[in-house]
């Protein structure tokens, strides 16, 4: 009898549940239909409820309340706000297939390896209680890692074994592209590139994807970051504290608007995005003090060593260069924050400088227009068309992928013109370029060398694509200013004397060493002005026999061309204004490697004009210094924006006799005192 009652009740309950299901089904069907015309994350007040920072979200004040509203167009498929273009769908599919394949390979290898058969993980745990099981979770990853390492190992696994630090934030799934490594030896011992690596060229791989075919075959690789030992801080000037970000009681204000609660510190980050080296300076905006400076190789070298290569790379693999540099900057910020005990959310502004390409890549702009005539940034085109007031940029740091305060802004001073970028604009601010009456020249030496001259109220600029020869590229034993780089070298008659950075065993030569070498070889008749060795048929000479460091005619020729670019820039600008080296009252040399250059040697090979040495001032990294001053002073920011408006850009290549000058410039000899090609 009892069960009969229970049966009726069960039926009643079931009936209720069915009715609920019916109601819910109606809702779900309706939700599905509605989502075709209205984003499901939008609520009845048209607010966006999405937690994932949808790109159509905007903060608006509605009826006196700050609300997240949706500005998406519901008539379109709202899913455009996410990420569903066919190409990325295909990529995702490929990644899935790759994951499965790697997993299968790994397990096969493991199976072959262990003759005793698989140890069922669960056999040990199933009987134990739930709490115990959960607490064991921590071990799982390391177990799995260990097994993977036995065979079908990836470069990442190898790095783990060697305790090498390789960054990642996607759990080694090939998605974050942070674990790019450069393989110096043993590319052949690796499986071919997987689909997640399709954006990489040359010897670059993703450590998490590159599976090793033959373990123990002497693979050498390094993560993209390497810290140069040459850190130049430039001139430290006192700056009147007037930053954009200020504290007002318990609040932090940006340009007078409250943006956050005071968390215990207000910091700004100055970033100089060099083609080869990135320098960052963390500045306490309350005291004006620099808290920390760090520098690292620009990881964008995966897209080539010079600006033009990177532009074409960005055309093929849009935003990869942005991503790789933003990732690296975030990594460095996290490291700084760990070491110096501040929170990344206490950084409220970053001032970013760099040449036009580096800067625009960072601000996620299309850089293709910089790669074709008339070589101008989109912002410069827009400025000339009157569509924007200045080429200065300001954007939400979060939009640029920086993990700092969520309301932080990223600012870049204007570009000077064409390739002559925001780094030079910042640098000019440091030397009071327009405050001086004399004839002043600034030469900022780097992968792209920039020259600016002011004379008699006229200001000219030019950009010289020198390339990376003096910074470790194109020269067999060339290297950036890392530990072990020869920074000074002289010829002794039967060999060479040298010093190295850090005093360690020599690994190669950095820029200052290469300038010394060329000048010494010239001085002692070991090489002709055309770069031919004294023994004419010789292709290569030995510099450091015990380390096998050599120098070839090809190296000399690459350096000569790099030098020639710098020569042309200075020479043509001076000629435009009818000036010779003697007329220059002040020559400022900027750039990290300029600080270490021997001036006599540089003049000897025609790297610099023969300006009397006492008129030359090395100012180190003027760009980062300028970025710092812009962080600290709003007045400085406005002045820099004003200054660049008056600068005329000279396109070197359009000079009628450019080719003749360039050929002359390639010779390893001093610049003529009286220009030979006088107009």
């Amino acid at each position: 009898m009892g069960s009969e009652v229970s049966d009726t009740r069960q039926q009643e309950i079931q009936k209720s549940l069915d009715r609920l299901t019916e109601i819910l089904s109606g809702i779900v069907v309706q939700a599905d239909e509605q989502s075709l015309t209205r984003c499901p994350y939008k609520n009845a007040r048209d607010e966006c409820t999405a937690q994932f920072g949808c790109r159509n979200q905007r903060k608006r004040t509605v009826e006196g309340e700050r609300r997240l509203v949706c500005v998406g167009d519901d008539k379109l498929d709202y899913r455009e706000a996410w990420d569903s273009d066919p190409e990325s769908v295909k990529k995702a599919g490929d990644a899935l297939a790759a994951t499965r394949e790697t997993g299968r390979r790994r397990r096969d290898a493991r199976r072959r390896k262990s003759r005793t058969g698989r140890q069922k993980r669960k056999s040990g745990h199933r009987t134990s209680n739930a709490g115990r099981r959960t607490s064991n979770a921590g071990h799982r990853t390391s177990n799995a890692g260990r097994m993977a390492r036995q065979a079908g190992q990836t470069l990442f696994d190898l790095a783990d074994e060697l305790s090498k630090q390789v960054p990642t934030s996607c759990g080694r799934s090939g998605l974050c592209h942070e674990c790019i490594v450069e393989v110096h030896r043993g590319m052949d011992a690796l499986m071919p590139r997987t689909d997640p690596e399709s954006f990489l060229e040359g010897n670059y791989r993703l450590a998490c994807q590159a599976a090793i075919i033959e373990p123990g075959s002497g693979i050498e690789f390094s993560p993209l970051r390497r810290v140069p030992k040459i850190l130049t801080r430039g001139r430290r000037r006192r700056v009147d504290l007037d930053p954009m970000v200020t504290r007002s009681g318990d609040a932090v204000h940006y340009g007078g608007r409250p943006v956050d609660q005071y968390r215990g510190g207000i910091y700004g980050l100055a970033i100089d995005l060099g083609t080869t080296t990135v320098v960052m300076e963390l500045v306490d905006l309350e005291s004006g003090e620099t808290e920390h400076v760090c520098a690292f190789g620009n990881p964008q070298r995966i897209g080539g060593s010079d600006v033009m290569n990177r532009i074409s790379y960005d055309g093929k693999h849009r935003r990869e260069l942005w991503r790789v540099v933003a990732n690296t900057i975030n990594y460095e910020i996290a490291c700084m924050s760990d070491r110096f005990g501040f929170a990344p959310s206490e950084i409220y502004e970053t001032v970013v400088v760099g040449n036009s390409t580096m800067r625009d890549l960072f601000f996620r702009l299309d850089v293709q227009s910089i790669g074709t005539k008339p070589y101008k940034s989109l912002t410069e085109h827009e400025w000339q068309q009157g569509k924007r007031e200045s080429t200065a940029l300001s954007a939400s740091a979060r939009r640029l992928g920086l993990k700092i305060n969520r309301n932080a802004r990223a600012y870049s001073p204007p570009l000077v013109a064409s390739h002559v970028g925001a780094d030079v604009a910042a640098g000019l601010g440091v030397i009071d370029f327009d405050g001086d009456e004399r004839t002043v020249m600034l030469v900022d030496i780097g992968t792209n060398t920039e020259v600016v001259i002011r004379h008699d109220g006229r200001m000219l600029t030019a950009s010289c694509p020198a390339g990376p020869a003096f910074e470790g590229g194109l020269v067999k034993y060339g290297m950036p200013g890392y530990e072990g780089a020869i920074d000074r070298i002289s010829f002794t008659g039967d060999g060479f004397d040298y010093t190295t950075i850090g005093g360690t065993a020599p690994q190669g030569l950095c820029g200052s060493g290469l300038v010394d070498l060329l000048a010494e070889l010239r001085r002692h008749g070991q090489i002709s002005a055309k770069g031919v060795f004294a023994e004419k048929r010789r292709r290569e000479m030995t510099l450091v026999p015990e380390r096998n460091i050599t120098f070839s005619r090809e190296d000399a020729s690459n350096l000569a061309q790099a030098k020639a670019a710098t020569y042309c820039g200075q020479f043509i600008l001076m000629r435009h204004l009818g000036l010779t080296a003697d007329d220059i009252d002040k020559l400022y040399l900027a750039g990290a490697f300029a600080n270490y250059i021997d001036i006599d040697n540089a003049v000897e090979i025609g790297f610099l004009p023969g300006v009397p040495v006492e008129r030359i001032e090395k100012i180190g990294n003027a760009a980062i210094q300028g970025a710092r001053e812009i962080l600290l002073s709003r007045r400085h920011r406005t002045e820099t924006e004003q200054l660049v408006r008056g600068i005329e850009h000279i396109e070197l290549e359009t000079t009628p006799d450019f080719f003749e000058i360039f050929v002359e410039a390639c010779q390893l000899k001093p610049m003529p005192g009286k220009p030979r090609y006088w107009n």
């Binding site: 229970s6 309950i13 819910l24 937690q51 994932f52 569903s84 599919g93 994951t99 698989r118």
Partner: protein, 253 residues
Amino acid sequence: MAVLADISNEFIREEIEEFLERPEEVGRSIGLFARVTPKMQEIAAGIIEGEDDIVDELTRAALDEGIDALEIMDDGLIAGMSIVGIKFRDAFIFVPEVLACARAMKAGMAHIEPILSASGIKSLGTVIMGTVKGDLHDIGKNLCIMMLRGAGFTVHDLGVDVDEDTFMDAVEEHRAPLLGMSALLTTTMPNMGKTIEAFIDEDLRDDVKIMVGGAPVTQKFADDMGADGYGKDALACVSLAKSLLEERAAQGV
């Protein structure tokens, strides 16, 4: 014939007046709410407002007073949900509001379920649900959860941005026969594959049926990543869950 004034709860009266347009629905709702006790009207109001703590409290209090669980479910929770369904259909509220109501419904059902199962209504099975690592989208997954719960499944919701270990721990801890993963981005969909690989690596794959869904996911992708089933929407999710469990039973696990 009951009239609007017969309903004691002012909020319910206003809701019916303001949002119900079809005469047969107005009539049915007035009839329903005029019949039920003020306490049940209050619970229904809590559901309509999407106030989960209020529903939680009122339901517990009602059970403590000895009110029958079935009455609470019918006259409180489901009665409220029927108004929610109508308001949603007629575009007075939207998905985020509906999900808040569903949450309130769950808060009430949490007290009812033990009593129902004592009456012999068993859970259809335990399902672990979550959005994969790197992905913060949750609406599709939440609609699925709403449907699964409504259909009688016990669901453990791991939320968004769930990594492999958390999925594995949850499956083990709850001995769940079924796992549902959601991904809304092409960039995070591959993490479904990663998670399945992790289950294989840990020899847990045979213990659980895995179903997947989300905007970029298709039957083909589901096959490619080695999932057991793909559901195109929340309705499909329920029938998929049922059939996967049957499959599992047939395999004698």
